[in-house]
Subunit: 152 residues, 2 copies
Amino acid sequence: MSDTPRTVRARPSFDHCSIAGALDALGDDWSVLVLRELFFGVHRFNEIQQDLGISRSVLTERLGRLVDQGVVRAVPYREPGQRERHEYRLTRSGVGLLPVMVALMQWGDQYVNDGHGPVELRHRGTDELVGVELRTSSGRPVEPNEIEPREL
Amino acid sequence: MSDTPRTVRARPSFDHCSIAGALDALGDDWSVLVLRELFFGVHRFNEIQQDLGISRSVLTERLGRLVDQGVVRAVPYREPGQRERHEYRLTRSGVGLLPVMVALMQWGDQYVNDGHGPVELRHRGTDELVGVELRTSSGRPVEPNEIEPREL
């Protein structure tokens, strides 16, 4: 026996897979791009619609889905002399999707845009670049080949 | 003027958005679930097909797309007495998608599976739990509200 046990792993069971669950909750690419808008500070229906270039009905449907999933909430506001409208804000679970978005962005920067993406993320306090990293619970950086998935 | 400049930001331009580019490269949810299989050590067509419960033609199409995108490569192998087959491996850019998968999994664990996902990721050396975190380039942890997107 070796010191580091090497289990011969059966194929993992993917019942209740959290990745599949997250994809299902998100919906399609439009939903992800709506979330991108909210992350980047675009909160109003007309502005989101204009950025994405989609129909009002498609955007209404996607926003409704994200609200139903609890990742977005609609907040009423009223401009002087106009009817009440809503703007859209991320909930706590919506903010929890930020690492997904940043990871997609990081990958797209590197492999779609050849290392020159159109947007960078900076830390407000220190102005340092911000990204996602694989880390252990004690904060130690992790290489992909050091990760072992384990069924519970 | 304050010490920390607060720019009134115009809406960011999303031309060449890396998030949209990454989503486009990935394809649909099936493609993400194929990548999950490869991350979790399932590399053969029949096993992937069985896990996902999809038709051979859909899996063939998704694998072909991932190969075309350069995130997966087909590696020939031959069992004794059988014809040559291929198994599928992540390329370097495919491995670069691991933070996306881990971020989706983390979110799904918390918000779809109420904190009790079916799989956990451990560091092979230390047995610590592994996850993705937002960090600055110098390794300092970052809260979502400390991030400022900046157009280049």
